[in-house]
């Protein structure tokens, strides 16, 4: 991967993380504020906030896979794909575990 591509990947990841963490914080803050005033919509905002929070690192991994593939850096494309597969496995474990 070339030096400009590394800098670009860092910038894109920075944006993904910032947008994700800001969106989830807004959702969680709204949810908590609505909870304190007793509004029924609070749990919806809280759930959205949690889901966006959990999705942010996943989005960062997906973006990395795309960038490495565009740069034809196959070693790192495969490595990040393995990380994504592990995150998918944890989602499967979460769903399977619920049935126990």
């Amino acid at each position: 991967m070339s030096a400009p591509a590394v800098v670009r990947l860092e910038r894109i990841i920075g944006v993904v993380l910032r947008v994700g963490v800001t969106a989830s914080s807004v959702g969680l803050a709204l949810g908590l504020a609505l909870l304190l005033v007793g509004a029924p919509a609070s749990s919806l905002f809280l759930q959205i906030g949690i889901i966006v929070l959990l999705a942010t690192p996943v989005a960062r991994v997906v973006v990395s896979i795309v960038e490495y593939a565009v740069e034809r850096d196959w070693t790192f494309t495969v490595l990040t794909l393995v990380v994504l597969a592990e995150l998918a496995a944890s989602l499967m474990a979460a769903m399977y575990g619920r049935k126990l």
Partner: protein
């Protein structure tokens, strides 16, 4: 599961501010302080405490790394390689969390963090950096500008298998106890793998988002995550880590190591004490 009240949410928010600032300062996430407080201080079940803590670890990782991205202090290539190991450990830890006796794991954690503290303190004088900027960092090494010395720090990664094993263990501990796992990774990367403290802490902080997500998803799916309390903790930690980041930029690496060793001793005593009870 605990009953959610405004007072409880407020206490957790305040605890989050403190944990977040300390976590950002040390590059290990706030979990290491939050879990004992929620479990011992507020009497929350360990699993609920771990689940809340994991969400704050994700938030800390995302916000701290967003601020550092583009400054080259995060070694993203190394981070991505080690994430393969941490995510695997985290997945295994999340799945086995209900099968293994918790007391044995807490005692193991106590012993391990005590050992790491000793390693840290015995290697205070070592810098593990090559100050010659013309040195080739290799495939996984890195190069960044250090404010303290005013120079460019270049380093190569040594003993990658050791880093992978430490990352796998860190991932497991992360899911089982709800911490970021940086307490294991950072000292090992610094002491044995030739990575400067600043880069080790930044890379670890970057990785723990993915590590904690693999564990948090499992807790969330099992209904062990209380969204109201997680929200209070996440918002508190966000505020705290913002403050800690500003202060952390001026803290010296040596002071950071001493502080971190002290933290490890406290964590060791707390975890071991809980394990033998």
């Amino acid at each position: 599961m605990p009953i959610v009240t405004a007072t409880l949410a407020l206490i957790i928010f305040a605890a989050g501010v403190l944990a977040g600032s300390l976590g950002a300062l040390l590059g290990i996430g706030g979990g290491i302080f939050l879990v004992p407080f929620l479990n011992i201080g507020l009497n929350l079940p360990l699993q609920a405490a771990a689940a809340i803590s994991l969400t704050t670890v994700i938030a800390t990782s995302s916000s701290v790394s967003a601020g550092r991205a583009g400054k080259q202090v995060i070694n993203m290539r190394l981070g991505m390689v080690l994430e393969v190991a941490t995510a695997a450990g985290s997945l295994l830890g999340g799945v086995t969390a209900q099968m293994l006796p918790q007391s044995a794991l807490q005692m193991l954690f106590g012993v391990m963090s005590a050992i790491v503290a000793v390693i840290m303190l015995s290697r205070l004088g070592r810098r593990n950096v090559i100050l010659d900027p013309t040195v080739e960092p290799g495939l996984l090494g890195g190069r960044f500008h250090e404010h303290e010395s005013g120079g460019t720090v270049t380093y190569r990664v040594k003993r990658l298998p050791v880093a992978l094993v430490a990352s796998f263990l860190a991932g497991q501990v992360s899911s089982l106890l709800g911490v970021g796992g940086g307490v294991i990774k950072v000292p090992v990367l610094n002491a044995w793998c030739g990575i400067p403290m600043r880069a080790a802490a930044a890379t670890s902080a970057f990785m723990i988002g993915v590590t904690a997500t693999a564990g948090a998803v499992i807790y969330y799916g099992h209904g062990l995550l209380v969204p109201e309390l997680a929200a209070a903790a996440v918002l508190g930690v966000q505020l705290g880590s913002w403050g800690g980041m500003h202060f952390g930029a001026r803290a010296s690496a040596k002071w950071l190591k001493v502080l971190m060793a002290g933290v490890l001793v406290v964590v060791s005593v707390l975890m071991f004490g809980r394990g033998i009870r």
